[in-house]
Symmetry: C2
Subunit: 340 residues, 2 copies
C-alpha cells in the first residue's frame, strides 16, 4: 500500500496511482486528525471524496505516531495524552476517540488504537503494554459505529517475544476481528527477528482473514514476509527515498544523482513500462532531482511505486499459479541484496 | 508561453502541458548552459528529446539573466564575462557563443544575445547599450547555423525612449529577422510606460512577422499588449505564484491559504474545466499547499497555466471572429483589477 500520510500520496495524483495499478492506499489517522481535522474531512464527505480516491483506503491507529512523540506524551490506562508535533497543543487519544476519528475519516479498513513499544523496551514493559493494547482493542470494537462499511482490524503486539505474540494474537482472535495487523515490528530490530515473529504467527492467525504487517518494508522484507503468511504491507520507502533520488529497480537501488548517470540516456529500467521509463532518461531525471525540480521527484516516485506494485503483483500471480516457492528462491537473494 | 527554466515547466509533466493546450514553451539558455550543459543536451538529441516535449520551444538569449548578475559580470564590446550564480565559475558569452548554445539546444525559435539594461539606466547608457545589442544581433545572425530549423529573432531594446526604440527596430528590420522580440520591458517601469512603448512600436514593426514581448506579464498586461500588437509573451507568474498558493481566476487572484477557504468545498473556479477544478476542492488544495505538499503545487500550477492559456485562446478567438474590441473593453478593467 502506497502511503498517503496527510491525505495525499506524496508527489502523486490519484490518476497516476491508478495508472500504476494501486488498489489501496494508506493514510495516517494522527496526521489527518491534526490537519485538516477529522471533523472537517467528515464534512467534506470522508477521506475518499476529500482526496478524490474512490478505491479502498486503510487508516492506521495513530499509535505508532503518538508513541514516537517521546517526551511529548503520557500513557495512562485510559489513553494517551500528547502534544502535537506542529504547535505543541495538547490532545488526548482514547481507544474510543481513535475509532471516532477513523469513523469520520471513513476508510474501508481501520485499526484499533494500540501502544507500540520501542524495540529497546524490556519484556516486562512489553507485557504490560500488550495488556493495555488488548483492553483498548475491546473498547475500540465496542465504540466502532460503521461495522458494515469499515473493517476494524486488531493489532497484535508483543515485541520479539513469541509467547507474548501468541497471547496477543489469541486474545484478539477471541474478539473475532475481520482482519489482524502485526504492529511493533520494523522498529529497529534485525530483520531476522522480524521474520522469526511473522513466521511464528503464521500458523496461529486465522487463514481466511487478512494479515497486515504494519510499516514494512524493503523489497526483500516484502517477499520474505509474504512467504511467512503476510497479505498486506505499507511503507514510505518507495515514495520517501524516490524524492531524494534513491530509486528501486530489479537490478538494485539506483542513486540517480551519482555521476555515472550524468550522460546516461537510457531509461531507469529498460524493461519497465511506467510513465517515467517510457518517456525520460536517467540523465534527465538526474538533472531534475539534482535541481530539486518537482517533476524529478514525481518521475522517481512513479517508478519506485510502480516497482513495488509490480513486485507484489508478480508475487500474487506466482501464488495463484502455484509457483510461489520457485519465485521466492529465484528472487529472495536478489531483492535482499538490493536494499539493505 | 509557459516557462520551463531548466528544461522543465516547474511541477508539470509534458502530458499535463498538452492537456491544457500549451502550444509552445520557453526554456532559458543561461540555465540550460550551466546545467546540464548545452553540449550534453545536444548529445541527448536536443531540448525537445531531452525533456520529452515534441511541440515548439523558444529559448531566450541569456541576456536578461546575465545582466541580472550585477557585480558578477563585466560587459565589453565583444561580450559579457560573468560568474555562475551556482558555483562562481567564470564564463564568457559572446553573440556567437550564445547562438552556438542555442543551436545545440535546438529550440524552434531562438533569440539574439542582447544587453538588457535596468530601468534605472540613463538615456546615454541605453543609447550605448542599444548600439551594442545591434552589433551583437548582426554577429549572431552570421553565426547562426540552423537557419531552416530555428527561427532567430532580433531583440528591440531602447528602454522607455521612443526614438531609441524606433532606431533599434528599424536597424534590426534591415537585417530581416523572421520575428522581432521586445526586450527591456517589465524591468520595473510603470505599466503605462510599457504600454506606451508597445503601442509606439506597433506601426513600426512588420505586420506579417511575429512580435514577442519578453517576460510579460499579468493577465491585464497580456490583454493590453495584445491590443498593442503583440503576438507572443512568456512569464513565470502563473507557475511561480501558483506554487506559493496565489492562483489566477476570472474572479480575481485567489490566495488559497486564506482562512476563508478552509471549509470551502467548491472547486477553485466552478466554470473551469482543468484537472484541478474537475476533481478537487479549494479546501483540499489549501490543505495541500499549507503543508507544502507537491500535489498542491501541481494542482495550483495546472489551474493557473490553464487560466493563462484560456485567456490567450479567448483573445485569439475574439481576434479571428473580428470582435477583439468588444472583448478588450469587456475584460481590460476586470483583468487589470485581478493582479496588480
Amino acid at each position: 500500500m502506497p502511503v498517503g500520510t496527510v491525505a495525499t500520496v506524496k508527489a502523486m495524483s490519484p490518476d497516476e496511482l491508478k495508472e500504476i495499478n494501486a488498489q489501496i492506499i494508506l493514510s495516517n489517522t494522527y496526521h489527518c486528525y491534526l490537519r485538516p481535522g477529522h471533523k472537517f474531512i467528515e464534512k467534506a464527505g470522508g477521506l475518499h471524496k476529500f482526496m478524490n480516491w474512490d478505491l479502498p483506503i486503510l487508516t492506521d491507529s495513530g499509535g505508532f505516531q503518538v508513541m514516537s512523540l517521546a517526551g511529548l506524551r503520557k500513557i495512562t490506562d485510559d489513553g494517551v495524552k500528547f502534544q502535537s508535533h506542529i504547535d505543541g497543543s495538547y490532545h488526548f487519544f482514547t481507544p474510543e476517540k481513535v475509532i471516532e476519528i477513523e469513523n469520520s475519516l471513513g476508510a474501508d479498513i481501520i485499526m484499533s488504537f494500540d501502544e507500540c513499544p520501542a524495540y529497546s523496551s524490556d519484556r516486562k514493559y512489553i507485557e504490560k503494554s500488550l495488556a493495555l493494547t488488548l483492553k483498548w482493542a475491546k473498547r475500540g470494537k465496542l465504540a466502532h459505529k460503521n461495522i458494515n462499511q469499515q473493517a476494524l482490524f486488531g493489532i497484535v503486539q508483543g515485541g520479539v517475544y513469541e509467547n507474548l505474540r501468541q497471547r496477543s494474537a489469541e486474545e484478539l482472535m477471541e474478539l473475532d476481528f475481520p482482519g489482524y495487523s502485526i504492529g511493533g515490528l520494523a522498529v529497529g530490530e534485525p530483520k531476522e527477528e522480524m521474520y522469526r515473529i511473522t513466521d511464528f504467527l503464521n500458523p496461529i492467525l486465522p487463514k481466511h482473514k487478512p494479515r497486515y504487517l504494519m510499516g514494512v518494508g524493503t523489497p526483500g522484507n516484502i517477499l520474505q514476509n509474504i512467504a511467512n503468511g503476510i497479505d498486506m504491507l505499507d511503507c514510505v520507502m518507495p515514495t520517501r527515498n524516490a524524492r531524494k533520488g534513491s530509486i528501486f529497480t530489479w537490478q538494485g537501488k539506483m542513486i540517480i544523482k551519482a555521476g555515472r548517470y550524468k550522460d546516461d540516456l537510457r531509461p531507469i529500467d529498460e524493461n519497465c513500462t511506467c510513465y517515467a521509463c517510457r518517456n525520460f532518461s536517467r540523465a534527465y531525471i538526474r538533472h531534475l532531482i539534482s535541481l530539486k525540480e518537482i517533476l524529478g521527484m514525481r518521475l522517481a516516485t512513479i517508478h519506485s511505486l510502480h516497482f513495488y506494485l509490480e513486485l507484489t503483483t508478480r508475487i500474487r500471480e506466482a501464488i495463484l499459479e502455484n509457483r510461489f516457492d520457485e519465485f521466492y528462491h529465484k528472487y529472495i537473494n536478489i531483492l535482499d541484496s538490493i536494499c539493505e
